[in-house]
Amino acid sequence: MINQNFSRIILLFTSLCFVLSGCWDKKEIEENAYVIAIGLDPSDAGGIKVTYNIANPQVGSAKGVNVDEPPASIVSFTAPDLTVARDTANAFVTRKVNYNHTKVLIVSEELARKEDFFNYISIAVKDRELQRDLTVIVTKEKVSEFFDKNKPELETRPHKYYQFMVNRTKETGFVPVSDLHRYMQKTELDSDLFLSLYATATPENQKYGNEDEYLAGEIKQESGNPTQVIGSAVFKHGKMIGLLTGEETRMALLLTPKAKDLETMLTSYQDPLDEKHRISAQVSKPEGTEISMDFSKDPVEIKVNIPLNIEIVGIPSLIDYAIDMDKQMLLEKSIKQQIEKKAMELIKKTQEEFKGQPFYWSLPGRKYFSTVEEWKNYDFDEKYKDMKVEVTIDITLAGFGEQITTPKYPKKE
């Protein structure tokens, strides 16, 4: 008897699946236009200029029908905000514009620097289709221009392109993790600066530098897709106020309390025994950065201790550091000093130029306060510029690459 009842209930549940999945909200994939990237530009006529990168679901699917069609279509128009833009777009896009699979929100630097930028972007969190983990990217040029010049060769399908771009650049630490959620969070709490990915498809001021001392567009690139993603845009009170290079972004990530976010990064340091060469190393942060603050002092003292695992992967000067303890100590000390110097430079820059810190130090800082009210009244952001910060690096030399000794230099005749 009871079994019968249960089979009835199960039948009801299953039939419910059919009922609830259909009816009013049914839409075939073909009827939807999936916007992968939304671009926002300022518009002189009022409102904002919205650019859509719409994926073509027919390209790259297993069956491979209609391969002649382009993988994506780009449309650009003016609308009051990005939520209502959906319907406006239907004047020339025949399908229902759908944000369910939107991966990135790209804004031009010009718009990001405007006073009312927060008004435009905060609309996105109220939209039910847009997810809070949407990646925010700032481009140097206008977004419509960026879309035109950006011609990815390996990943022609747009969702793959943005997914890979965001994931890989995040791993290298050249760019920060910057989603819409963090932007809202940091802007609303107003104690930290927000960092966003910085990209461009217009190369300019190209120069030679070490591996990460660039802003997007500055890397001397001979061929390939001109789009470069490196460095970060700095936001204060929800508005863009400056830029950090790839190197500074990496340093900022090392200074943040959490351990994750950057897995390993390849970087180079000056060889202490050979001025002409640099030593390449793979750096990782095994644990979170320790940050302690002393609010009883005036100015407030902040002590930062960054644990780092460093594996030397290349010694172009061919000096054998691995088998000589003295040289090893010298190397360790030299790297430590180099990183500490860089860190202090960045802190000085944030204190003087930005008058705020992008290191998420509000997280350890708020522990010293009892109520939200007290924390807000203290105005950490405002007081930061006068704080005394001390950075120490705790290096562990994890290894010397696959081969311990360096190759011997061939004797010249």
Partner: protein, 368 residues
């Protein structure tokens, strides 16, 4: 035979009772209850349930003592016996009104969540009838069936919750619960007192006292499950703060649904919310089934209707009718609910229990 089974007001054991309590109360961590708590408690909202329980546990234990003393009486019969039929009926009607109001508000808010987040084109009335229809179907088979459904679906729902926690754990920064007292200690204690009605279900569950196999299963099922619910509730509030952080956590209305949208497994499975949605709905069906059953039972006891189970259909229709009244959940009913009904229930329940206790003491306890 079938008839007999359908009308089964057969006893349930500690397991069924516990599963019902956990599913009913812990789904509250996934609806708009959390946004009420964050509004007053800021990032320290997780302490509010703890404070509430400290206030509520005393009266609840007293109530249990009374139930045990006056064997085999449900809540309303107990009130009638102690305070007399006239006052008893009056209080009964008040409790009926509050319970009905809670069911209407809760069910409407669920429909609102479903409509707004998952089925924007579907008319509210369709979603509402669907929710109440299924809940009615479960409820009409009696308490035993509700208990069985709860026990059966319990491991699946909880396994999904555990999986969810595992998936989001990497994004949680526990340090976000600081500053430790949020809006301040007085605020937390105050809110904890006035929002103890979040757990008012525990009070209403004493209606089922006679339906339990024995006194021990009521006590065991009730206490253990209440403990689990509190731990789960507090953990979820901390989880929300650890992920969304103050002040964003205050801006979000439906934390659980925002959270399941945030979840992804690797880079390829990104829109997983619909899987969680199904399990969440099953929890909701059971929750409203028990509410519908409870209200019918309440109604039946007050108006001396022995065969109260046919009433479930009318109660479901009434809930649907009342629930369709407000045009807009957030501005109308939510404000009304949060600022008037929750505090009212919070004060009513302990006062009523102490009154019962006092009068019972004066009259010298259970007769016979």
């Amino acid at each position: 035979m079938d008839k007999l089974n359908d009308q089964s007001n057969g006893n349930i054991g500690a397991r069924e009772f516990g599963a019902i309590i956990i599913l009913t109360l812990s789904t509250k961590a996934t609806d708009f209850t959390t946004s009420i708590l964050f509004e007053d408690g800021y990032n320290a909202a997780w302490m509010i349930p703890i404070v509430s329980v400290l206030f509520l546990i005393g009266p609840l234990l007293i109530l249990y003592k009374l139930l045990k003393e006056y064997q085999s009486k449900n809540l309303i019969e107990l009130i009638n016996e102690i305070l007399g039929r006239k006052i008893g009926s009056l209080i009964g009607i008040l409790l009926l009104f509050l319970g009905l109001a809670a069911t209407v508000f809760d069910s409407r808010s669920y429909v609102e969540i479903v409509g707004r987040l998952y089925y924007p084109q579907t008319p509210t009335i369709v979603l509402y009838s669907m929710l109440l229809g299924v809940s009615f179907y479960i409820a009409k088979h009696g308490l035993e069936t509700i208990g069985r459904v709860a026990v059966l679906s319990f491991p699946y729902i909880k396994a999904m919750i555990v999986l969810l926690v595992v998936l989001v754990l990497k994004d949680v920064k526990w340090g976000r619960i600081f500053p430790i007292s949020g809006a301040g200690w007085t605020d937390i204690v105050q809110t904890g007192f006035f929002k103890q009605s979040i757990f008012a279900d525990m009070f209403y569950f004493s209606l089922f006292y006679p339906f339990l196999k024995n006194d021990k299963s009521f006590k065991k099922g009730g206490l253990i499950s209440f403990g689990i619910v509190i731990v789960e509730f507090v953990f979820f509030l901390i989880l929300y703060v650890g992920i969304f952080e103050y002040p964003t956590v205050q801006q979000i209305t439906f934390h659980f649904h925002e959270l399941i949208r945030y979840v992804e497994v690797g880079p390829y499975f990104t829109n997983l919310e619909i899987i969680y949605f199904i399990f969440w709905m099953v929890g909701a069906f059971i929750r409203f089934a028990i509410y519908l059953y409870m209200i019918s039972l309440l109604f039946g006891t007050i108006f001396k209707i022995k065969e109260f189970e046919p009433l479930i259909l009318s109660v479901s229709a009434l809930v649907l009718l009342l629930g369709m009244l407000p045009n807009n959940l957030v501005t109308n009913s939510y404000l009304l609910w949060n600022s008037y009904l929750l505090p009212t229930i919070s004060v009513t329940i302990p006062v009523l229990i102490f009154l019962l206790w006092g009068v019972s003491k004066i009259r010298g306890g259970a007769k016979r």
